[in-house]
């Protein structure tokens, strides 16, 4: 049995909702098939008040082993670095985080808030929020850049707003079944198995990206969402179009631009008016290019691809 504890800091509970919707494996499968003992979870835990406090103290003292510590939400430091704005079981949540991270074999940050601060840490960041080991792109965060859990790994980051249900449960299973050491993490400590390809990989609108045909209004079945509607699919690392949401679809397949929520800068441009759902340009050229493409190459490719585009690419077709 692997003991798992899930706590929540500055969060909207979106990742909890996501976790409870997992299918492969499901939250129940974690218990019945993979021998994971969910000690406590904000939506599932039975203990309240002193009983919960006793359990947490048993964990921090080493009396009870903690194999996996999952944290959702930001570490709230306000006001003035005390963390008093987010109290839990008799003390600031951040103090529990400090003590639990010292005893956990593996620490898993779920969702953007826990990984790099997400929306709460957006300027002016009134809650003085930060992620467990990052604040946006800056390595460090609450635990510091040198932190390693008892198993010798840094915080395993599963970003997203929310993270996909199955990314969460599959990583938890990997860790619980003793394959945590095999996890390969990228520079932002995201498991490479999920975060090496782009959101664009598998997008049903790729043919419109190739022929440079743009969607110019929401609801259009034709057209790529990158050129005008602010889609960040070509420069966001996620498997959203490989591991589909609800096993059915994805944002881009449904006509909703990718907002880049698995990247540390999310929400981009600090949510300044006019920056959401609108591709930002400088002299008519996108400010953020598809990863690995330079401006000159982009302009040449676009001119050639547009000239070669077939008639059907300009017509509404089903892309779901």
């Amino acid at each position: 049995m692997a003991n798992l504890l899930w706590l929540q800091g500055g969060a909207c509970s979106g990742n909890t909702m996501s976790f409870l919707n997992a299918e492969e494996p499901s939250a129940c499968d974690l218990v019945t098939d993979f021998g994971i003992n969910v000690l406590w979870h904000p939506s599932l835990g039975l203990e309240l008040g002193e009983n919960l406090q006793k359990m947490l103290l048993a964990l921090t003292s080493g009396q009870m082993p903690l194999d996996i510590f999952v944290f959702e939400g930001t570490v709230v430091n306000a006001p003035n670095g005390t963390g008093e704005w987010n109290r839990f079981a008799g003390r600031p949540m951040r103090d529990w985080v400090t003590d639990l991270c010292k005893v956990a074999n593996f620490v898993v940050a779920v969702g953007d808030c826990a990984t790099w601060g997400g929306i709460p840490a957006t300027a002016p960041n009134p809650t003085e929020s930060e992620g467990l080991q990052f604040l946006k792109r800056d390595h460090g965060g609450y635990l510091g850049k040198d932190f390693k859990s008892k198993a010798g790994l840094p915080v395993i980051n599963i970003p997203g707003c929310p993270a996909h249900p199955d990314w969460i449960t599959q990583i938890v299973v990997a860790v619980a079944t003793g394959r945590g050491g095999e996890l390969s993490l990228d520079e932002f400590q995201r498991p490479k198995t999920f975060f090496t390809s782009f959101t664009q990989t598998g997008c049903t609108r790729n043919m419109h990206f190739a022929y440079k045909v743009s969607a110019t209004e929401f609801g259009q079945r034709k057209g790529c969402l990158f050129y005008d509607l602010g889609c960040r699919g070509p420069m966001t690392h996620s498997p959203c179009n490989r591991i589909l949401w609800n096993r059915q679809s994805s944002k881009t397949r449904a006509g909703m631009p990718c907002m880049g929520c698995t990247e540390p800068e999310f929400p981009f441009f600090d949510l300044a008016p006019g920056t959401v759902f609108k591709t930002q340009t400088v002299m008519g050229v996108p400010k953020d290019m598809p990863t690995g493409v330079d401006k000159t190459g982009y302009i040449k490719l676009t001119a050639a691809a547009k000239a070669a585009s077939p008639r059907w690419a300009e017509e509404d077709i089903f892309v779901v």
């Binding site: 005008d228 400088v282 002299m283 008519g284 676009t302 001119a303 000239a307 585009s309 300009e314």
Partner: protein, 106 residues
Amino acid sequence: MTTTESNQEVLEEIRSLLQGGLETEAFPRADTHDAVMAVISRLRVAGDDLKAKLVIGGFTPHPVEHGGIEQPCETCMYYLVHRRFCELPELSVPVEPEWSCRLWRI
């Protein structure tokens, strides 16, 4: 009248206006997001007034080079190659590939 015939009629009207020397606001180009939104706001007010659209959009019957980049309709993201049409909702007019406007984007 079919859509194609109607587009052709509008195209001829635009060509006639541009070649007749209609003064349009081709400069300054809408280089920043704010500048783009300012032009688009004015276009929304102009509604279906074709002449106003051409003036505010800064249409020219030839490509404009700006910042070392040639900006013809044919490479713009709003241009539909086969329909020869500008699909920017606030413009939504037939255009020729060699024309240009200050809302060009690639």
